[in-house]
């Protein structure tokens, strides 16, 4: 097909003549591939194409003029992008699209198309002007990045799933171990209690009872640890509060008045058992010795969280334990030795009347 007459201003014009129209000469000579189409003609054919366009596509001018631009499309050109361009042409808007186009030899390139309508004075679209650019390199490297990203994401997903499965297995194992510890502690307590009942010697029975109270105290420590979501630290303040109520309540002694001034106070979980046992010794000793022979009295538990060290004071107003007896009891030795282990310190002082035991211990440095 011959080049359209409409485009005599550009195509019919040769370089010599084009001097009068520098714009036409520029379009002709630019390295940017360009075409112009005529929507007034059937199927909006190309009426002009420059040298650069012919070089890009591999077609000669004769093969290009008179065809609709879609002749560059092929089987792998994206339908959605094509329809976007079509809609823009129909509604007379400009449009940008990256299209996979085909050269004459069948090879492909990525075409960054920019298409815009050219209107006359009355606003009617006379031409469409389209510039192309081979952006294969950019599109391909973008695709490579996208592919890589998908691959990395898939790998991250896979490893996350692995980690999650490992964590689930660990949690399951921890619960199983926890459960066994709970069951065993419960059974040890029950065995001891059943044994105590068969012992006639009150002295032996009392010692076994003390043993039982210690196992119970450990059980309470463990229960409080597993019921808390925090594995690293232990609320000794709440523990001593509950233990005091439990110990006084179970003694059945309504004549012992318990005064609680407690608050949450955290210690490292590693010291929970030692400190729990210490508090158990102090509390049970107070009940047994300060208020023996049915003497009524007051027992106070104060948790002090105001200093850098934790302080718990347990005071009674009983007759007080003679210091000779104190040094010989296993309870006192347990308190002193366990305190050393937990980097704590236990001090006794005269409460006139009664005894005050104060333990000072490092607070948990773990913040949650």
């Amino acid at each position: 097909m011959k080049q359209s007459d409409d485009w005599h201003l550009t195509d019919a014009l040769h370089y010599d003549q084009g001097r009068g129209d520098p714009f036409a000469a520029a379009v002709r000579a630019t390295r940017m591939p360009m075409v112009i189409t005529d929507p007034a003609k059937f199927d909006n054919p190309i009426v002009f194409c420059n040298e650069a366009f012919q070089q890009l596509t591999g077609y000669d001018r004769e093969e290009i003029i008179g065809r609709n631009c879609r002749f560059l499309q092929g089987p792998d050109t994206d339908e959605a992008s094509i329809s976007r361009v079509r809609v823009a042409i129909q509604s007379g808007h400009d449009v940008e699209a990256d299209l996979l186009n085909y050269r004459k030899d069948g090879s492909t390139f990525w075409n960054a198309l920019y298409l815009s309508p050219v209107r006359d004075e009355s606003g009617i679209i006379r031409f469409f002007f389209a510039s192309q650019m081979d952006v294969s390199e950019r599109v391909l490297s973008q695709q490579a990045i996208t592919d890589k990203k998908v691959m990395v994401e898939r790998e991250v997903d896979r490893r996350t799933a692995d980690l999650r499965a490992a964590l689930e297995a660990k949690t399951l194992l921890l619960h199983e171990v926890d459960h066994r510890v709970k069951n065993n502690l419960t059974m040890i307590g029950s065995l001891l209690r059943l044994q105590v009942r068969t012992i006639d010697d009150p002295d032996v029975a009392a010692k076994l009872d003390s043993m039982l109270e210690r196992v119970d105290a450990l059980a309470v420590v463990h229960r409080q640890l597993y019921q808390s979501s925090d594995l690293a630290r232990f609320d000794l303040g709440t523990f001593v509060h509950n233990l005091a109520i439990d110990v006084v309540g179970a003694s059945g002694r309504t004549d012992i008045h318990l005064h609680l001034d407690t608050r949450q106070l955290y210690v490292d979980a590693a010291h929970a058992s030692a400190l729990g046992l210490i508090l158990n010794e102090i509390l049970t000793n107070a009940i047994k010795h300060a208020f023996d022979n049915g003497k009524s009295g007051h027992l106070s538990v104060v948790v002090d969280d105001q200093s850098s060290m934790g302080i718990i004071s347990i005071c009674d107003d009983g007759p007080g334990m003679p210091s000779t007896k104190r040094t010989r009891s296993i309870g006192t030795s347990l308190i002193t030795r366990l305190a050393r282990q937990a980097r704590a310190e236990a001090t006794w002082r005269d409460n006139a009347p009664g005894t005050c035991v104060t333990i000072t211990f490092p607070r948990s440095e773990t913040e949650t």
Partner: protein, 149 residues
Amino acid sequence: MNNAMNVLIVEDEILLAMDIEAIVEDSGHRVLAEAASLRDVKDLPDDLDPHLAFVDIHLANGSNGLDVSSMIQERWPNALVIFVTANVAKIPADFSGAHGVIAKPFSHAGITHALRYLADGVYDPPPSHPRPPSLISSPHLEQRWARAQ
């Protein structure tokens, strides 16, 4: 003891059942029967009428304490049901209608104290003592005390 309760113990670990029985009797209450499974509870006579049942969650022959709780409430509507379990997390939010839970490992003091509190509530509700820390109560227990007032 004039406010002695009749107690049913549902526990498949025999050592623990013996221990709870001893604590219950030391506290002046009576153990009516022990059961290790749902089947055992089913086989108990209708006229048993316990005041209180201690019920483990994990029971013999694949049965569980939640079903036992439902059965007890159906057969003996006046009974208080208290779970005694290491599986506190397995108890549904509505406690299957049960009245509370004591977590294992339990202590002698914890059970004794809870018994005193519950007996107080059974014979002269609501209990005059504060609820012991060893006993976690369900809304059903509070409702029971409120109704009896």
